[in-house]
């Protein structure tokens, strides 16, 4: 290195570059789409992804009411498919707990449910109610002082043949972020409303309109989708899912 080269190297430390913009959030938001093709060929999730793609094409026609609503991008996790659209259907939060099925005990839920699901945390953080809908959705409900739903955890099989959550419509204002919870694929939706759409056993599209106005964490855990909804921070939702164990033997 000659003297002029060294001078230029020194000059580098003095050059005033404009401040680097943090592009990570917008890049990750734009990447809220399926993983690269190689990944989609991998293992179990392939079947889910392909099947969902087919069904959701139909759903996109059936279930997106405003004609000018455009699907901006989407990503899938477990049995859920998240579609970002430029306009959401109107939201009327459901308030009737019966939508979540009959109230039951954890033991009875294990006997009724036709899929493997995780137990709720116990002790002080145990849910106020356990509900099972048609043996295909298990919900843990935490109630607030006025009897309103404060936090909701719903589990359902990730396969398309079940009346599982098929897709969520997320508005442009919703932050959609991929993450991992103990190695399981997960998605975090924050800051905006979203609507859940289900494929019912009769083949029609069921719709769940924003149970809670809060944030949502979806985790694909061993073929079961765990959904946490409520006014929770991401870290709390993640801790909650971590505290839920799937250690009872499944006889279904």
């Amino acid at each position: 290195m000659n003297g002029l080269g060294r001078e230029l190297q020194t000059l580098a430390a003095w050059v005033e570059w404009p401040e680097t913009p943090d592009v990570a959030p917008i890049v990750m938001e734009r990447l809220a789409v399926p993983p690269p093709p190689r990944v989609r060929r991998a293992a179990r999730r392939t079947a889910i992804a392909v099947a969902l793609a087919l069904v959701a094409t139909i759903l996109a026609v059936l279930a997106v009411p405003p004609a000018r609503t455009a699907i901006l991008d989407w990503l899938g996790v477990g049995g859920a498919r998240i579609v970002r659209v430029d306009e959401l259907p109107s939201l009327t939060p459901a308030r009737d707990l019966r939508v979540l099925g009959a109230r039951t005990t954890l033991e009875a839920a294990r006997a009724q449910a036709g899929f493997r699901f995780a137990d709720p945390p116990d002790g002080e953080t145990a849910p106020d109610e356990v509900r099972v809908a048609r043996g295909l959705r298990v919900s843990y409900v935490w109630l607030g002082g006025g009897g309103d739903v404060r936090l909701l955890v719903t589990q359902f099989p990730g396969s398309v043949g079940d009346p599982a959550l098929l897709k969520k419509l997320a508005g442009e204002s919703t932050v959609v972020e991929r993450l991992e919870v103990d190695g399981d694929a997960a998605v975090w939706l924050e800051g905006g409303p979203h609507v859940a759409l289900f494929l019912r056993p009769d083949g029609l599209v069921g719709e769940e309109r924003g149970w809670l106005a809060g944030n949502t964490l979806l985790v694909d855990r061993d073929g079961t989708t765990v959904r946490v909804e409520g006014a929770v921070e991401r870290s709390d939702a993640v801790d909650l899912v971590r505290a839920m164990r799937t250690d009872h033997s499944f006889e279904g």
């Binding site: 000659n2 003297g3 002029l4 080269g5 001078e7 230029l8 190297q9 000059l11 580098a12 430390a13 003095w14 050059v15 005033e16 570059w17 404009p18 680097t20 913009p21 943090d22 592009v23 990570a24 917008i26 890049v27 990750m28 734009r30 990447l31 993983p35 690269p36 093709p37 190689r38 990944v39 989609r40 991998a42 972020e177 991929r178 993450l179 991992e180 919870v181 870290s235 993640v238």
Partner: protein
């Protein structure tokens, strides 16, 4: 959720498997140098920012073709530079150097006021000299010395062979020396 420090090859491998958290880590790791490379190529901070965003999105789509074990940064910076140049061309701008040598540098390396004043003059001479070089000479020196890219990275960004970077650097230094002399202090 856990953000443990991992070597880049591992992070790249995870990103290739579709781990978005790993890819975000790569974006954060490289967005600084990516922005500067884009700025040099595009000549405009807004275009540079947009080019970097597009480049990271494109790079993610192309990860499946990224060769395992290869260095990630030259591959990425090549995509960044291409995006930035395309933006500059579509905007009909010529490449121009918009460098400014600062008067203040932070940290222990800050020289005394006297040497700062002297050095500042020399810095202005160097910047002026760089600006007077033709584009081909200037870009190789800017990438090698001001952006502190290696020869391989510079070659990737400029779309030339590594040997070409070597020879161009040598010639460009000679031409700059003819303009600014050499500081003997």
């Amino acid at each position: 959720m856990e953000s443990r420090p991992l070597d880049e090859e591992t992070v790249v491998a995870r990103a290739k498997r579709g781990d978005a958290t790993a890819y975000e880590e790569l974006v954060r790791m490289h967005q600084g140098i990516a922005f500067r490379v884009a700025l040099v190529a595009a000549g405009d901070p807004d275009d540079a920012r947009d080019a970097v965003q597009d480049a990271f999105v494109k790079a993610y789509g192309a990860l499946g073709r990224f060769r395992d074990g290869a260095p990630f940064r030259p591959w990425l910076l090549q995509i960044v530079a291409n995006e930035a140049r395309n933006r500059r061309r579509s905007a009909g701008r010529r490449a121009r150097l918009a460098l400014r040598a600062g008067a203040v540098v932070s940290g222990d390396a800050a020289p005394s006021p006297e040497t700062t004043a002297l050095a500042h003059e020399r810095r202005d001479v160097l910047v002026d000299g760089l600006a007077r070089l033709d584009e081909r000479d200037r870009e190789v020196l800017v990438h090698r010395f001001l952006l502190e890219l290696g020869e391989e990275e510079t070659a990737a960004v400029l779309g030339v062979r590594r040997g070409t970077v070597k020879s161009r650097t040598s010639r460009a230094l000679e031409r700059l020396r003819a303009l600014v002399g050499e500081d003997v202090a």
